[in-house]
Assembly symmetry: C2
């Protein structure tokens, strides 16, 4: 795991891991949506109470989601 907690790279790694773990039962997008919900739910329950930091984490997760989604799309185009 990337030690830079809640960075874009940290979330990308986590997303890839989840996709791999669930590849037999869910599509990558289903897995990513589920992870996205779980993580944001946890982030906003977190008692850090610094709105700026919460938004930073959420934005990083969102960026990671979009980057991984773009990677998947590209891979699928190569395969077809």
């Amino acid at each position: 795991m990337n030690s830079n907690l809640f960075s874009v790279d940290y979330f990308k790694e986590a997303l890839h891991l989840q996709i791999k773990k669930n590849e037999d039962v869910h599509t990558p997008i289903q897995t990513m949506n589920s992870y996205y919900h779980t993580v944001i739910s946890a982030i906003i329950q977190d008692r850090i109470n610094k709105n700026f930091e919460l938004i930073r984490r959420i934005r990083n997760l969102d960026t990671a989601y979009n980057e991984v989604k773009a990677e998947i799309k590209q891979q699928q185009q190569v395969q077809h």
Copy 2:
């Protein structure tokens, strides 16, 4: 639509609508996760730049998600 934009009730109504729209192709949870991602992605792209207001909306969506999930669970228990 409830006129109280981005309230818990507003999001609950939207979630129910999405679930109904997609009931032939996706499970309620898949639909909710997809909606959750789409809405949060939009909320954080929004140029309102008031972190407090962003967090309020995200928390309301999260609360609505949990309430609708609990409703679905209860309905499923009644059916079985």
